[in-house]
Symmetry: C2
Subunit: 215 residues, 2 copies
């Protein structure tokens, strides 16, 4: 499975495969055909076969995919077979919402500290997790071996915060600030969350094929 | 441009095209070739040509795309040429973060009310926007001609809340609750935000092609 080239489009679909396969596994389904999975996921069977072929024939002609095996293998690719220690930079409302979302811990993603520059927030706790001064990030990250930083600072503070993250030796940023971070891509990988994009997919539907009032 | 079939994959890319074209327009760029746009956006020129062909030859061979025109046309498709009135169901931390995000108003998306069932929140305000009892949603939505509802309630409350939204005659739900809503798809279109998916794309990178420490 190593050194396999997988396009970003396929990678983007993996979490969804993982979610659906997890549901099936939970329901006790042992095998599923690409046709049945396709119908469930509202995609074509040929796309599923093409996508899952990247991982080397989990499926067998006329026999279907082994649900539990495929779920686990994709989970491994997504890094779900180990724990990740995360910090949040920016202890505002979004940080609060993320910290309170129990779903991360469930899959092994632990928020171990929040960082901020606001003196009023430093020293407080969110769900028992302390808010620390940003100046302590570097020492903390090295000592605690932090994997990734969640950036929830305002747009204007984003690049300065990203610089602190890079200095702290953290190589992965999950960025909620609505701006393109200017960082050395050899040192840090950035995954941007563009919330507005998802809203615009909705208004595309609204605009191009509106639901008619049916009474 | 009417009745054109556009696949979900292309729709998903439209907001990003719109963003990049907006940046170019702001910088005063009038025309751009598919090759230059491709390099900027880190995709292939052939994908760009294929995608933008859906909208009927905005580009001319050897001449490039008209940046401002294409930006506006895609904006129209995304519903950005008019205002949208939104309500938020569930007045917790995520609602607070969304309400405080100035970016929505900038593009014509107005949050006009929040709704909750928690007596302690009802009557309070978030950024000057009142939190109302969920029982008033139906009357309010009809009177104010609400386009879409943002669902930020916990997983267990999501389907009951979605039912209230449908009863209120709102046809579009932007769903942050981490669950598949069970609604009549003829009456309501749901766009799910799977935040965890985006985090897993990041940990896929971390797992399959980790950044090596370079000192």
């Amino acid at each position: 499975m190593k050194d396999v080239y997988i396009s970003k489009a396929v990678i983007k679909r993996l979490p969804r495969y993982h979610r659906f396969l997890g549901e099936l596994a939970k329901e006790g389904v042992e095998r599923i055909s690409s046709n049945d999975l396709a119908e469930m996921m509202n995609v074509t069977a040929s796309q599923i076969r093409q996508d899952l072929n990247h991982f080397g024939g989990f499926g067998q002609q006329g026999y279907g995919y082994n649900v539990r095996y495929l779920h686990e293998e994709i989970g491994n690719l997504l890094g779900l077979n180990k724990e990740h220690k995360m910090v949040i930079i920016g202890a505002g409302n979004l940080a609060r919402a993320i910290t309170n979302y129990y779903g991360f811990k469930e899959i092994g993603f632990l928020i171990v500290a929040l960082f901020d520059v606001n003196e009023e927030l430093i020293g407080s706790e969110i769900k028992g997790i302390p808010v620390r001064p940003l100046s302590e990030l570097s020492d903390f990250a090295k000592k605690e071996e932090i994997d990734l930083a969640i950036l929830t600072v305002p747009k204007d503070a984003a690049n300065a915060a990203a610089e602190e993250v890079v200095t702290a030796g953290i190589h992965y940023i999950w960025n909620f600030a609505p701006t393109e971070l200017i960082v050395d891509r050899k040192k840090v990988y950035v995954e941007n969350v563009h919330l507005v994009d998802s809203l615009l997919e909705l208004t595309f539907e609204m605009t191009t094929r509106p639901i008619k009032e049916s009474k």
